[in-house]
Amino acid sequence: MAIECLVLAARPPRLRGEDGGGEATEAWLRDSGVERRRERGEAAAAAAAAAWPSRAGQEVGKSCVVVTFGGGKRVMFDCGMHMGHRDSRRYPDFDRLLADGAADYNAAISCVVITHFHLDHIGALPYFTEVCGYHGPVYMTYPTKALAPLMLEDYRKVMVDHRGEEEQYSYEDILRCMRKVIPLDLKQTIQVDKDLSIRAYYAGHVLGAAMIYAKVGDAAIVYTGDYNMTPDRHLGAAQIDRLKLDLLITESTYAKTVRDSKHAREREFLKAVHKCVSGGGKVLIPAFALGRAQELCILLDDYWERMNLKIPIYFSAGLTIQANMYYKMLIGWTSQKIKNSYTVHNPFDFKHVCHFERSFINNPGPCVLFATPGMISGGFSLEVFKKWAPSEKNLVTLPGYCVAGTIGHKLMSGKPTRIDIDKDTHIDVRCQIHQLSFSPHTDSKGIMDLTEFLSPSHVILVHGEKPQMAFLKERIESELRMQCCYPANNETVSIPTSQNLKINATEKFIASFCMDETENDPQKQNLNFGGDMPQGCRTEGVAEGVLLMEKSKTPKILREDELLHSLGMETHFVHFEPLHPSSIEVKHTGESAVQQSSLEHLDCE
């Protein structure tokens, strides 16, 4: 038995993506609504941006991994799109699924599981279900199902309205697609069909992000999606049981990075904002609707409360307000700290956030404004930027990575005094620029920790850049002694799996090798749990018996003394005795005698 893992590449595969450099809208599209994966601070960001065009093979652009279990069950994990492409290459090469003769996608795929609402994980789903015609089961967590349409529609609108592209799928397609989605709760075991079961675990990263456990027969795997091993202000850290796994497929975006403390950066951010508003300035925070905006807003709201500040905090678009409403209903998916206290104080009931109107842009006096889209890639945040940038009292805070070509990127990569929007428009930039970056991805330590914790037989790295994945593979193989690989796009990797045989055992056999109840005190068990045993596992000790195999019957294991009875036979004793009784002393010391006595002893039974 084996598991096959296929990373679906763009269609047609191995084509270089185009560098869409110039246009702000396009840059935003690559990342619409998503905190991108390469936000790594100033220097790193610049380097990463230079390397942006998607590599063939290992790439960060989109996620779509298809795992085939022995017996033909096939699960598609994530159905993402590549924002760097404008044509059909933005979608995974679904045709590959039909390569081995399946009639259609419904026959080819047992189910689709989406890990979270970012477009590089869900962007191609409406296309797959509504255009390609897949109508089998699609699973995602409750928050993902709730928030994904926002992301998808937002992206679709910009693509069609701003870029004037041909519509790939309509708003109705998105709604139709989402109606088919079966929502998942964490830790629920869902039986997809008779043989295939899946389970979601908390992944941190963004609201509703999940790691997915899938099992067919004895073969079990985990696909992590994007995850975060350290809690942030509104989300907890990834959490998973110790499972017995044949394969772990993990993201490896930050395969080489070890992150430093967030607190210092948070303090720095608050200090900069406070300084600006107390000097009567305005703070512009260009951010995407979901994720970072909520995290920073919790941070600010809390700070405002502590410092007793009365300066208004605004959210620019209806989208973000709506997002906050979702967050309130989905509070069970946030961090434990928030969950414990939200009935007293819901952190998404922002006390200091006020209703915003467009005309406020020109109002005098200090304020803080969250405006979409992030990276100042166009739309409202650009409009505000034009107005506020010329004053040195004001502050622009850039939370996270900005794609090349965006104003955000220009602001980060030096301090320009003048930015040309187009040949007629230019902006004098005299405001201060503050850059803030913490990422909701796990770092290399997190990946190593998770891998060590789960101790799978094999590891596959996806969703990373090739040199970094090579580095991590080396570490996993040498430090954790696990087999590891990072398949190129459209390359199929086959992983052998263990398989267990079903047999029966008699009650006597089980009873004789079970521990006494009294020995089963919980402390001892805890040791077991904490040790190298998978969860819910307990050793009963070494068992000895006889396996009886009869034609057309399930093999049965019996205790030795039960065998003859079951065969209808009588024992024939075989004894060893000394020939000369005088040598009896030898018997108790010599090696042969040892064997003899053990034999005799058994014979006595």
């Binding site: 629920q188 979702y326 079903k502 089980i510 009873a511 009963e540 070494v542 006889v546 065998l563 003859l564």
Partner: protein, 717 residues
């Protein structure tokens, strides 16, 4: 050296063998501790289950029936009129849960809780020594609701303590003499059917906030559909039961049998996630613990107070009975049709009709200038009532303040808007279209609904306006704000009190007599309708059903049913027969490849096996032992007879020189001892009888060779 001593002391595995079969470790038994009081909503039944040697308590509710014997806290010196003379004035005592006796009698390994109300008695137990290592499993939402309800109970109880002073060490004055007798008579009146058990359920004082804390620390929260492993042996899974937010049905899967613990369930609900019956399919045993048919819902409506007209309650519509019979008659039993029948929206429609009726009564009362007091404890009903009432008020253009006065009101109201995963599908849709999950969110925002923790809360007086509608605890009418408000309104015939049937109205209302206030007794769907039991069982296909003796008539056993019944009754233990004699074990391929099978005949082979026996998630697994199986050529077990005449040739084949002893007699019967003497390569003697072969030899090498030769003609392993 080590093994010499093994001769004297048999190896551990063998020594333990004889006790295994007769140890009752593998017998499943079930004891019904309590069948509940009111058909199971507020006081569900409680059971003790023994399975594979583990003792598991199923639900531990609190029985508040003793409370009726106590007088509510007087408002002021003058206020207490009414017919309260008989009632005890003192800090109330409560009936100790029957499970306490069970926990005292022996260790309890785990507690499975199926509802918030099933959790309320647990703090009585957490102090007991038999409870030290117990783990409590409960759904996240039921745990949350339960701990809020317990806190509320303790807070309300404090009113008594404030009035009468704290508990002393000695028993209170009323414990002696006349008063106690009266209490006992009250208690007996409530529970006439099991008087003998009254001694069992001793009276105890209420637990404290610390006890609740201690209890909650032992709980492990689960989600619907989450599989948790207890003790390596049992897999536990909660599935929604549809009755209330967070209520569940448990699947208990052991290595040899699977069991469903089925408390009161509702197929489709207007608020909670529907009954997930399909997850129970194929479980071997069902412990049927739905006592809702006893809660008066199915009796003809008794008149209570002045109003009681709810005709929708006359249930068991004839057509449901009909379809039950039908589904049994055509043996094919169309599963889809059964499901359609079970999950029809009738339940919701009826429930909504009941709620609309209550709303119309409320409107009538308000119109006449009276206020409405609703001391109902069912959170789902409260939420639905709020939604429908505000609609009715809105459509009839009335502006009436709605108050919710409870220690935990705010928390419950916030909490219920943040649990989409636990709600019925139609409410989950609200999440996906970004609407609040319940109507109360809007009501709060618009200021139509106000929440206060106490009657004396700051701001309540300013907001107070009569007529108004008040939701507040407690349905027992012995503590909580309801007592005070009822005293305020009881003489006003324009006012309305909405009570739940199943509560003994006569006793409950006694201290408030005479009453002018209108009393509306209403009942709600609290479990599986009788007509649906049989079709459900047909769908679940169990092998055995443990059914309450008292409800035998509801589900008569027939020959056609492929399952059998065992009837249980309170306080009795029944033994559940083993579903499987043998255990299912998984063997890893690694172990299988290491086997050296020996063919016995055409159809049978045997192999000796030594492996690590693991118990993982309720499944035994034989994994390769670290120490390799001893590959010695010697067999440890031989059987059959050895044909002595074959021995010489077998020995000679191995190059051994031998001869039958001089006194050998070839013609002698085979059970006679035959002796073969060996001269080369060493000196040895082999004695053979029908059941025994003895090799006499001092030289190990020779012994080995002789044995080797014998092995070829003797069956062994």
């Amino acid at each position: 050296m080590k093994l010499v001593s093994a001769k004297l002391l048999p190896s551990p595995s063998l020594s333990r063998a004889p006790q295994a079969p007769d140890a009752n470790a593998h017998v499943t038994s079930q004891t019904c501790l309590d069948t509940g009081v009111d058909g199971g909503y507020y006081t569900p039944a409680s059971h003790l289950l023994e399975v594979e040697g583990l003792r598991i308590l199923l639900d531990c509710p609190i029985d508040l029936s003793a409370l009726t014997a106590f007088s509510a806290v007087p408002l002021g010196a003058s206020s207490s009129s009414g017919d309260a003379e008989d009632l005890i004035r003192g800090v109330p005592y409560y009936r100790s849960p029957t499970a306490v006796a069970a926990a005292k009698a022996g260790r309890i390994d785990a507690v499975l809780v199926s509802s918030a109300t099933g959790l309320l008695g647990l703090p009585f137990l957490t102090r007991l020594p038999g409870f030290a290592n117990t783990k409590v499993y409960v759904t996240e939402v039921a745990a949350r609701m339960g701990s809020l309800m317990m806190r509320e109970l303790v807070e309300m109880h404090r009113e008594f303590v404030r009035c009468y002073g704290p508990d002393r060490d000695q028993s209170p004055v009323w414990m002696e003499g006349e008063k106690l007798k009266k209490l006992m008579s009250v208690l007996q009146k409530i529970t006439t059917e099991d008087e003998e058990n009254n001694n069992l359920a001793a009276l105890v004082s209420l637990y404290s906030l610390d006890n609740i804390e201690e209890c909650m620390q032992k709980t492990q929260y689960v989600k619907y559909g989450e599989e948790v492993c207890f003790n390596g042996m049992l897999m536990l899974k909660a599935s929604s039961s549809g009755l209330e937010l967070g209520n569940c049905v448990w699947t208990i899967k052991g290595p040899r049998a699977s069991m469903t613990y089925l408390p009161s369930s509702i197929f489709v609900s207007a608020h909670a996630l529907d009954f997930d019956y399909s997850s129970l399919k194929g479980n071997d045993v069902i412990l049927f613990s739905d006592f809702s048919s006893l809660n008066g819902m199915y009796d003809d409506n008794k008149k209570m107070g002045e109003h009681i007209v709810d005709e929708t309650d006359i249930l068991l519509a004839s057509n449901s009975v009909f379809s039950t019979e039908k589904s049994f008659r055509d043996d094919g039993m169309d599963e889809d049709e059964t499901i359609k029948f079970l999950c029809s929206n009738d339940d919701i429609a009826e429930e909504i009709e009941r709620i609309s009726f209550i709303c119309s009564c409320i409107i009538d009362a308000i119109n006449s200038g009276g206020s409405v007091l609703i001391p109902i404890g069912r959170i789902g009903i409260i939420l639905l009532l709020l939604e429908h009432m505000s609609e009715t008020l809105h459509s009839s253009n009335m502006k009436v303040p709605i108050f919710m006065i409870s220690e935990t009101a705010e928390e419950i109201i916030t909490f219920t808007n943040a649990l989409p995963e636990w709600l019925c599908k139609s409410r989950q849709e609200k999440l996906f279209s970004c609407e609040p999950l319940f109507g109360h969110v809007e009501l709060l925002k618009e200021g139509k609904l106000s929440l206060f923790s106490h009657l004396y809360s700051k701001g309540l007086l300013a907001a107070w306006k009569e007529p108004c509608i008040v939701f507040c605890p407690h349905w027992s009418l012995r503590h909580g704000p309801a007592v005070h408000l009822l005293h305020r309104w009881r003489a006003d015939k324009r006012c309305l009190l909405v009570l739940e049937q199943g509560v003994d109205a006569e006793l409950t209302l006694k201290p408030f007599m005479p009453l002018a206030i209108q009393v509306l007794g209403c009942s709600f769907l609290s479990g599986i309708k009788v007509g649906k039991i049989d079709p459900l069982l047909g769908l679940l296909k169990p092998k055995l059903i443990l059914f309450p003796e008292g409800q035998k008539s509801l589900c008569p056993a027939t020959d056609k049913q492929p399952w059998s019944f065992l009837y249980y009754s309170k306080g009795k233990t029944i033994e559940v027969p083993n579903m499987r004699e043998e255990f299912e074990v998984r063997m890893t391929t690694e172990v299988a490849f290491g086997l050296q099978p020996r063919q016995l005949d055409k159809t049978t082979a045997v192999a000796r096996l030594k492996a690590k026996l693991l118990l993982s998630n309720g499944q035994y697994v034989l994994a390769a032992a670290k120490s390799e199986l001893d590959r010695s050529e010697r067999h440890l077990l031989h059987w059959g007879t050895v044909d002595a005449s074959c021995i010489p040739s077998a020995l000679q084949e191995k190059g051994i020189v031998c001869s039958f002893s001089a006194d050998a007699d070839y013609s002698a019967p085979s059970d006679r001892e035959r002796v073969i003497s060996i001269t080369s390569p060493g000196e040895a003697l082999v004695k053979v009888t029908s059941e025994r072969t003895t090799i006499y030899c001092d030289d190990e090498e020779t012994a080995e060779r002789v044995y080797d030769a014998l092995r070829s003609i003797c069956n062994g392993i």
